[in-house]
Symmetry: C2
Subunit: 247 residues, 2 copies
């Protein structure tokens, strides 16, 4: 008999080619499935993540589910799995859920952080982007209002992805000084591939004076990836929080 389990995890994405399993590449999903398979007598194990993070992107909180035999109590399984997984992937909690609970489809809110620093910070080389150019944070926060609500975010999406529409409902977007870093927080029901990094790149253009805050509205309206700013490096990006109705 198998039971469906939800796993809360965290990982440093620096040394991985992203979440999704790929042949000939080290990925978070691949690493976890391999260890789970070893724990359960080498039967193949499939895990379903709450979403996919790109190469180099981190997660402070992420979830995945799997259907597994009941050989171990959840805490025992967590202990064993953590011991097998490398130090850059941690399983923080395992809970039994209903058999139709789904880590991807049931997630109602996703929060990402993007960290950057404007003076050299030797201890944040892998988890924050060094951006020494002067920024007008007030202007950047003026621009974020144009992101809010349900809109078509084609302008901030990678082309040719497999989703059938590009509508996202953004409920929160804000820049804030946190210690020696500048942090962008964004919350939505869903995100398109590369979307947060393209939004951050565009807001930095507002911050350094290249474009006006209200230009963000026009960029969205154009529904054209060429209209928005560059995508910022993966290392500053964190999947921070996932909300489920039942967790």
């Amino acid at each position: 008999m198998k039971k469906r389990l939800f796993f809360r995890c965290a990982y440093d994405g620096t040394h991985y080619s992203g979440w999704q399993k790929q042949p000939n590449a080290k990925t978070i999903q691949g690493e976890i499935e391999e260890k789970l398979s070893r724990l359960f007598g080498n039967q193949s194990v499939d895990i379903v993540g709450c979403g996919r993070t790109d190469a180099g992107v981190h997660a402070s909180q992420s979830y995945f589910h799997a259907d597994l035999p009941t050989n171990f109590a959840p805490d025992q399984l967590r202990y064993k799995l953590n011991n097998m997984l490398p130090l850059d992937i941690a399983i923080n909690e395992i809970v039994e859920v209903a058999e139709d609970a789904h880590a991807r489809f049931d997630a109602t809110r996703r929060t990402y952080y993007y960290f950057l620093h404007q003076h050299k910070l030797p201890f944040h080389q892998n988890d924050s982007w060094y951006y020494p150019r002067k920024l007008d944070v007030e202007k950047m926060n003026e621009a974020t209002q144009f992101l809010l609500g349900r809109q078509d975010f084609t302008s901030f999406s990678k082309l040719h992805t497999d989703v059938n529409n590009n509508f996202c409902d953004i409920s929160f977007a804000e820049w804030k000084h946190v210690g020696d870093q500048l942090r962008f927080e964004i919350r939505a029901n869903r995100f398109l591939r590369n979307m947060v990094r393209a939004i951050v790149g565009t807001l930095l253009e507002v911050g350094n004076g290249s474009i006006a805050p209200e230009e963000v509205r026009n960029i969205i309206a154009k529904e054209d990836r060429g209209a928005a700013g560059c995508s910022v490096p993966a290392k500053g990006l964190f999947l921070q929080k996932i909300k489920y109705p039942y967790l």
Copy 2:
């Protein structure tokens, strides 16, 4: 004409063979001297650090001094030097001091932190030690009282170093939970080579029940390195603060 300058700096020691210049090894001192030399027409530049950190040890705050021509204002020099130095070494301040001010001899207090974590923390692999064994922090803090005051710390020193006595005056030593980490803070007029890491290793033996807190007093009295616990890994150790009478 040359002026004596004090440099406040920070570095991630992960990829360095420590502070002190060595032939055929990448060191913090070597890296900084090379860049300063390049900035001043390739004349050789010698810098004097507040102390030496071992391979892999970090500094949140460290100082060094150098006698340099007055080609640049301090802020301009800081800007240029930071641009040349790698991202894991930051110069945070440069101030002109009296010509006999000395970064090593004049430092009156040095503070070190040692960080460890007892559950996996993917984002602290290079700056904290993963120590999953159970610890009695209260007992560890009972033991720290025996470290205080001016005593001979031969039991916690590397043998055959070039200092002429092993007396240190420890004014503060405490374990504290800080977020998901456990932090040891220790302050003294001076430290012997490897001393903090040997003290931490010994206090962990108290914490995991191998020895009683008051055993620390006996270990010190023995003046024998073999009496103390193992030295813990470098990556959790931070030179945190240096005090000068005039800064």
